[in-house]
């Protein structure tokens, strides 16, 4: 029961971070700042959701898969953030404010 | 351990071309040999099947041992064997002519695997009993056919191939959506389930979707937009396969479907006929205006498909029990004659160096036999006696008269006259020599490459004499052994 509560809170906080990421995506002025929002806020949001769900998991296998998911999402998000930023700098797209 | 004799010819007709295609793809240098051997073997399998069908009227193989509706069965009856035989025989002759027509090594290398895959798909359609399976099959056909369309690699061919691709995929997807609705309503996909079904809104929607999809694939006016360019710009053997065989697959499915799921309303049947009449007129008019020989031939396909749909429509909804025979005869006749015609047109283009109708004349005497072949094929397509086309047209008009549908008779007549008009443009070109420059060379017009199209054209004419046995053959086991 306690576990459920902890999981629920983790998931809820995770959702808040997702919302924050979206808000950042919409509000921040340029692509680099938005990248900050995405990589950090969404990354943490997913991590919280993942841990929350992992707490509720039925088997160790599931937990392992959830961890795997988290690990790769985090890795991919950092890598992709870097790639996009690099691309934006090289293409000059990052200079375009909108 | 494996007793090969327990193989049945239907399975063989499916797997032979498939293995052939794979072998031809892996070994491009030997592709021609593999291809020819496969096509011959396929014809053998079809012959065997025909032999069995004559005795048994229908054969069913539940693949995997799972009976429908869970599994998929292969089923052959007279009609499907006739279509298989058409495919096999026309395919063999086109294959022969491909040996000569495809001079580019690259074209040869890709022609064979694509054509054999196409053959697999066609055989699969004719043996299929499951509508989802038919969907997959028409996709196999579509991809292989598009590959063949763009074999020449010219800009026009690729552009036409792309249009063809769009139409093919869209047609297939409409069909798939229809399959979805059938499943929603019936929870099964085999033909037997369709026959047993009681009409409902979902089934009507399914039928509408599938029919529109098939009409698109078979290029019935006004959904024909993709056909002329695709068929006119492909290399000759590919054109022959596309016009002679590929279009027939969708027609065949339509024929099967419309007997298993009768169109719910007479008006719809009439509408189909009206579209057919429109195709007949529009295709003919375009053929009259076409500047290039192959384009003319392609437009004539549009017109002829219209005729086949008039045949579908001519006896009305109930009368389909009878009128499918006229349609089937016309399908067979068109398949043979049109492939002969495309091959001949290809030969003429090869020898003369162009296929502008206005500039055709006797100055190029070499493709005499090809021109003769073209004329013979045209006779069958116009529907002059005793060709198979004539027999088909005869049974169409006979049925229409009996049902009192004068309008279909008139439409057919107008179409026939127009076909005379547009084909005579070509004949006149073949025979004129007033603008000839230089002396006529002694003709060497008997190239081996003309043999295949000539055989086809002669078959198109002379099979008319065999119409009675053909008719009694295609009635074998139709459908599921009893008339609905």
């Amino acid at each position: 029961m306690l576990l459920d509560w902890i999981a629920a809170s983790l998931i809820a906080i995770g959702a808040v971070f997702f919302v924050a990421g979206t808000v950042g995506l919409l509000r921040f002025p340029d692509i680099y700042c938005r990248l900050h929002a995405l990589t950090k806020a969404d990354g943490l949001g997913l991590a919280l959701v993942a841990f929350g769900v992992a707490l509720l998991a039925d088997s160790a296998g599931e937990v392992f898969r959830i961890l795997l998911i988290w690990f790769f999402v985090a890795l991919a998000s950092a890598t992709c953030g870097h790639l996009i930023a690099r691309y934006a700098r090289q293409s000059g797209e990052g200079d375009a404010h909108d | 351990m494996n007793n090969l004799m327990s193989l049945d010819p239907m399975t063989l007709a499916l797997f032979l071309p498939l293995f052939g295609a794979m072998a031809a793809f892996i070994a491009p240098r030997a592709a021609s040999v593999i291809g020819l051997a496969t096509v011959l073997a396929n014809l053998g399998a079809v012959g065997w099947l025909a032999f069995e069908i004559r005795a048994a009227a229908e054969l069913i193989t539940p693949l995997g041992g799972w009976a429908p509706p869970l599994g998929i069965a292969l089923r052959a009856d007279g009609l499907s064997v006739a279509m298989l035989a058409l495919t096999g025989a026309v395919g063999l002759l086109v294959s022969f002519s491909a040996l000569d027509a495809l001079r580019d090594a690259r074209q040869r290398q890709y022609f064979w695997p694509l054509w054999l895959l196409l053959l697999t798909g066609l055989n699969g359609v004719y043996l299929g009993t499951d509508i989802f399976n038919l969907y997959v099959m028409i996709e196999v056909i579509a991809l292989a056919a598009v590959g063949l369309t763009v074999l020449s690699g010219t800009r026009e061919a690729v552009r036409a191939g792309l249009e063809y691709m769009y139409a093919s995929i869209l047609g297939a997807l409409l069909f798939l959506m229809g399959v979805g609705f059938v499943y929603l309503q019936l929870g099964r996909l085999d033909f037997a389930g369709l026959i047993a079904a009681t009409p409902s809104a979902a089934l009507s929607a399914a039928l509408a979707l599938m029919v529109v999809g098939l009409l698109l694939k078979t290029a019935l006016f006004p959904l024909h937009f993709w056909l002329p360019a695709a068929h006119a710009n492909a290399t000759a053997p590919a054109s022959a396969l596309l016009s002679g065989l590929v279009v027939k697959a969708a027609l065949y499915i339509f024929l099967r479907l419309s007997t298993y799921m009768p169109l719910p309303d007479e008006i719809l049947v009439t509408l189909l006929g009206a579209l057919g009449a429109g195709a007949l007129l529009w295709g003919s008019v375009q053929a009259l205006r076409a500047e290039r020989l192959k384009l003319l031939v392609a437009w004539s396909t549009v017109a002829q498909i219209g005729l086949i749909f008039i045949a579908f429509a001519r006896a009305g909804q109930v009368g389909l029990v009878e009128s499918w025979k006229a349609a089937a005869l016309l399908i067979l006749a068109h398949g043979i004659a049109k492939s002969a015609m495309f091959l001949a047109a290809g030969r003429i283009k090869d020898e003369v160096g162009h296929d502008i109708i206005r500039d055709l004349d006797r100055s190029a005497i070499r493709p005499t036999l090809a021109q003769f072949t073209f004329a013979l094929a045209a006779i069958s397509l116009i529907g002059l006696p005793p060709s198979l086309g004539f027999i088909g047209k005869w049974s169409l008009m006979e049925g229409a008269l009996q049902a009192g549908y004068w309008h279909w008779v008139v439409a057919t007549m107008v179409g026939t006259l127009l076909s005379v008009a547009y084909f005579s443009r070509v004949f006149a070109g073949f025979l004129r020599f007033d603008r000839m420059q230089g002396a006529l060379a002694e003709h060497k017009g008997w190239a081996l490459a003309d043999l295949a199209p000539l055989t086809l054209a002669l078959a198109a004419i002379s099979l008319g004499l065999m119409a009675a046995p053909i008719l009694s053959f295609i009635e074998l086991g139709y459908p599921f052994g009893a008339m609905p």
């Binding site: - | 991809l143 691709m165 997807l173 798939l176 979805g180």
Partner: protein, 96 residues
């Protein structure tokens, strides 16, 4: 109101949008997208046909069919896109 109803209607709408797009779109690439929408729409209908109220497990056959449909569609897309690329190249060469 059940999921199958919602997604069934969704599928139909997607299919219709794709259909209209395939018929009306001018751009070659977009027509491919439209066709893909159609295929997804048809997939929805099949998956919905398989759906059963939760304790019951869904009908596996339509799932298999949709998977087949997806693979078929990706093949068709690849060919269509290859054609588009080739055609554009040929047209560009002709323009030069």
């Amino acid at each position: 109101m059940t999921p199958d109803l919602i997604y069934g209607l969704t599928g139909i709408a997607v299919f219709a949008i794709g259909l209209v797009g395939a018929l009306c779109a001018q751009d070659r690439l977009r027509r491919v997208l439209a066709l893909k929408l159609c295929s997804v729409g048809a997939g929805f209908i099949l998956v919905v046909a398989a759906w059963r109220e939760p304790p019951a497990s869904p009908d596996p056959v339509p799932h298999a069919l949709v998977i087949t449909g997806i693979v078929v569609m990706v093949s068709a897309t690849a060919v269509a896109l290859a054609l588009i690329r080739r055609l554009q190249t040929l047209e560009a060469e002709a323009d030069e």
